[in-house]
Symmetry: C2
Subunit: 308 residues, 2 copies
């Protein structure tokens, strides 16, 4: 990547976690590796635009971990350092890597985090609101003047606890990004296409349904778009697949300077490409070593995979 | 359909069950409705070619049920009528319709069934070997001289009981059609792309992986092809989706008189189209009332759904 080029593209603001992951897959285990939704999203977005991370870490956060982001053009001026320990999260994956169990979540310094958008990123940004309490997502939106596009992630606990608050976030979002279960839950319908439609009805302009290894689909006013799951023979660790999808999605819109229907379809494919690389290694390794040329080559493969 | 046109296309031979289904979904229930793998496959294949059913029913099989098939151009000269009761099968679906529990299976006259291919269909046919004991599938293959293309379905019990025998069927198949779980099981690999590759390694020329509502993918010597799951807002009953997929797949190859890579990709889309209609009603109702124009219109929609 040429950071000079990226800086000239639209600003990307990424709200999410930066933390330490404790991951167990059937074939490997890693303790205390760099992780977090903002980490994965920023590492994917940086191929298209300069991402500004909104997050918080503790005094224990290693300079080496910070360097992984900083050396790849990620703007850390919105990464607060607070007294206390960095956010930690553990998960164990099933044999087919399709389901996982969260083994623990230590919020630590993330508890009560009140993100402040750096002034240079506060106008006309392309925004990814990673999975957080809806009121935190709204606080970020309130700090950004005329956001160009807002992509919003969430999860079961926020859908259960306060769906009305989440609907207020959705109504201010250009797109929600949810997995199939979350879509059924937030849309309150067991039928996935109907559930997705109901999310548009509460005000989101579009919804991306992540279908794990089977791909991702987008519903907007133009109808459905479907991108396949890239067949990854060497899948190792699904951690961060969804967040790198989101980062590449928003990043590619920022690079294009557009968020129309055609740009959104391309964004789904770029997101799928980023996610497919992420799962090829444990943690962020593959994503951190990735090149734009590899992204573009796999993007072209997606055309072949669906051609008939 | 114009039966005259269909008769001029390649012959399609469909091995499978013709029976009575007892289905329970979250919203409805039906007892003793027409079902079976050969029923669904033939009702889908008939839009493209004249299907000959290889199956057996009991003396209790209602003329009205026979009429559903006969009146739609399905050749029943290979449908044996035996002393005893018709095959019966019951299933109950989960709320999201994605998983089901078989409530009972009464093989009845199907026990020991030894299919005889009618002479007029015994040469150069396009064949669908519906889920059956592998030795029955092999017996049908032995009766067909120079089959043009063989599509083979199977299920967990045959994979568990005699994978070597099933591998012999696979080695004589142009394509295996399995769901994602069966693919992992037969390929003996938790990674779906690798498992599919291993099925090619045992000799199948191609494999279709059915991914339920998420679509279907094809792996052959040209690599992967992926067709999305059509977003069916009014999904009622998934029964027969896989078999109607298979019937339309083989039927479309027969109509084209070809089974090359391009024809196989189109066949996956025709299969997906047929399956998407099948689930829109309880039992065979939607498929029985379907028109070729509806099929072709939805086929065109698939191009739009994946375009970027």
């Amino acid at each position: 990547m040429n950071p000079g080029d990226a800086a000239s593209a639209g600003a990307v603001v990424v709200l999410g976690t930066v933390g330490l992951d404790y991951i167990e897959t059937p074939r490997a285990r890693a303790d205390g590796v760099l992780g977090g939704s903002a980490t994965y999203a920023a590492l994917a977005a940086r191929f298209f635009a300069r991402p500004t991370v909104l997050s918080v870490v503790g005094r224990d956060f290693a300079p080496a971990h910070r360097g992984v982001l900083a050396q790849r053009g990620v703007d850390l001026s919105g990464l607060e350092v607070a007294d206390g320990l960095t956010f930690r999260w553990g998960a164990r994956y099933a044999a087919d890597l399709n389901s996982r169990q969260t083994t623990f979540t230590d919020l630590n310094v993330l508890e009560g985090f009140d993100p402040a958008v750096p002034p240079h990123a506060a106008r006309g940004a392309f925004v990814f609101l990673g999975n957080s309490e809806p009121h935190v997502q709204l606080s970020v939106l309130d700090q950004i003047e005329a956001p160009r596009f807002v992509l919003t992630d969430s999860m079961n606990i926020w859908i259960e606890r306060d769906p009305a608050q989440l609907a207020r976030v959705a109504a201010r979002s250009g797109c929600m990004v949810l997995n199939d279960e979350e879509t059924r839950q937030f849309g309150r319908d067991d039928n996935l296409p109907r559930a997705a439609q109901k999310i548009l009805d509460v005000g989101a302009a579009a919804v991306v349904v992540k279908r794990g290894e089977h791909g991702a689909s987008l519903l907007d006013e133009d109808g459905w778009f479907f991108a396949p799951g890239y067949p990854v023979s060497g899948a190792h660790d699904p951690t961060g697949a969804g967040d790198s999808f989101a980062g590449a999605f928003v990043g590619s819109l920022a690079e294009a300077g557009a968020a129309d229907a055609a740009a959104r379809r391309r964004a789904v494919v770029y997101g799928s490409v980023a996610a497919s690389f992420t799962v090829e290694s444990f943690g962020v390794a593959r994503l951190a070593a990735l090149t734009r040329a590899e992204i573009d080559a796999r993007y072209a493969e997606f055309s072949d995979i669906v051609a008939f």
